[in-house]
């Protein structure tokens, strides 16, 4: 009887050790999954609208980039782009748009040069080339930052059906700028092929832009 109990005790100990081992293994196996949720593929939305012909807006232009060189869409040599208007003092909309681009690249598993981000300032007085460079380097999307004379910028804004207004108030040195928040998807031929709204999510933007690849 005593030996029977000792045997049972040994079996019990073995089972317990085995269970503990299993639990440790399970914990180890689970850990990497918890740590890298971003590595799991995200299903992009299906049935997004097709690309469109916005013949009335967009087209070629020439402005100065943050390095002081002239930039034209033709330089992209067939690569598509995402273009929007903004200003570096923008406290909310512009940083959010640029952060969304980071996510779009991740979702499409592409490099920034595969879909060029183009930021055109509507506040050239304050957004010097140096400021544009500092601002855009913050986001690691390798964006082209464009500026020009007020007339040059106005011409591009009109060409793209955009809108902006400097909201200067008497007695205040700082001012904010009302500006259109569309992001223009531009195909490899330099044509606007989709307009994103500010509240479009990166998953939706990636799914639409995927049609260009």
């Amino acid at each position: 009887m005593a030996t029977e109990r000792a045997r049972l005790h040994r079996v019990y100990r073995c089972v317990r050790l085995l269970l503990m081992g299993c639990a440790t293994l399970a914990a180890c196996a689970q850990e990497p999954v918890d740590e890298t949720p971003r590595d799991t593929p995200v299903a992009l939305p299906q049935n997004v609208p097709p690309l469109n012909d916005y013949g009335g807006i967009g087209g070629a232009f020439a402005l100065q980039d943050q390095r002081g060189e002239t930039f034209q869409l033709a330089q992209l040599e067939g690569r598509p782009a995402m273009l929007f208007f903004g200003y570096t003092y923008c406290p909310d909309i512009c940083p959010v748009t640029l952060s969304k681009m980071v996510r779009v690249y991740e979702l499409l598993e592409i490099e920034p040069q595969d879909l060029q981000t183009i930021f055109i300032t509507v506040d050239p007085e304050r957004d010097t080339r140096e400021k544009l460079a500092e601002y855009l380097s913050y986001f690691q999307v390798d964006a082209v930052g464009l500026t020009g004379t007020r007339e040059e910028i106005d011409a591009v804004v009109r060409q793209y059906g955009g809108h902006y207004a400097l909201n200067k108030e008497d007695g205040k040195s700082e001012y904010f700028v009302d500006h259109s928040t569309y992001t223009y998807l531009i195909d490899g031929q330099g044509r606007v092929c989709f307009l994103f709204r500010h509240d479009d999510e990166p998953e939706y933007m990636a799914a639409v832009a995927r049609q260009l690849f």
Partner: protein, 148 residues
């Protein structure tokens, strides 16, 4: 006996101040944060949730910070694809309700800051309410991404 009485008073005082703020403000603040300005500009937006535990609606009417020349209450509106930001007089926090100051909507603008706030900094904000009460909060500066 004396000691326990003192302890009791201290605890009551602590509970009172943590619930109602230094000046008895009925509004508490949670999740206060400041978006690190990407351009290194001395101007930044602050966001938070205001919660009103009282039976009276309370309005946030003013805000100040020792590191900003002035703090303004702003709202953002989106019409026909154009974003406009305007200063507003107040933010109403309904009785037993809350008001969210969040990206894309109402927020505080810290203007004329001593220097551009950096990720990891703490910014002190003092909020003043319509009933004359005040509340001070520390807002953490962080990089704001999409979805914040």
């Amino acid at each position: 006996m004396m000691r326990s009485k003192l302890l009791c008073s201290a605890l009551t005082w602590l509970m009172w101040t943590s619930c109602t703020g230094r000046d008895g403000a009925p509004v508490t603040v949670r999740d206060a944060w400041v978006r690190e300005p990407p351009g290194g500009h001395p101007i930044a937006a602050a966001y938070m949730v205001l919660e009103n535990a009282s039976d009276q609606a309370v309005a946030l009417v003013d805000a100040q910070s020792p590191v900003a020349e002035r703090v303004e209450i702003h709202t953002m509106s989106h019409e026909n694809g154009t974003m406009s930001m305007r200063q507003v007089e107040q933010v109403l926090v309904p009785a037993r309700g809350s008001a969210a100051l969040q990206s894309g909507g109402l927020h505080l603008m810290l203007i004329g800051m001593e220097k551009a706030p950096r990720h990891g900094d703490q910014v002190e904000l003092t909020l003043r309410f319509g009933d004359g009460t005040e509340r001070s909060v520390q807002a953490a500066v962080r990089r704001g991404g999409y979805g914040d």
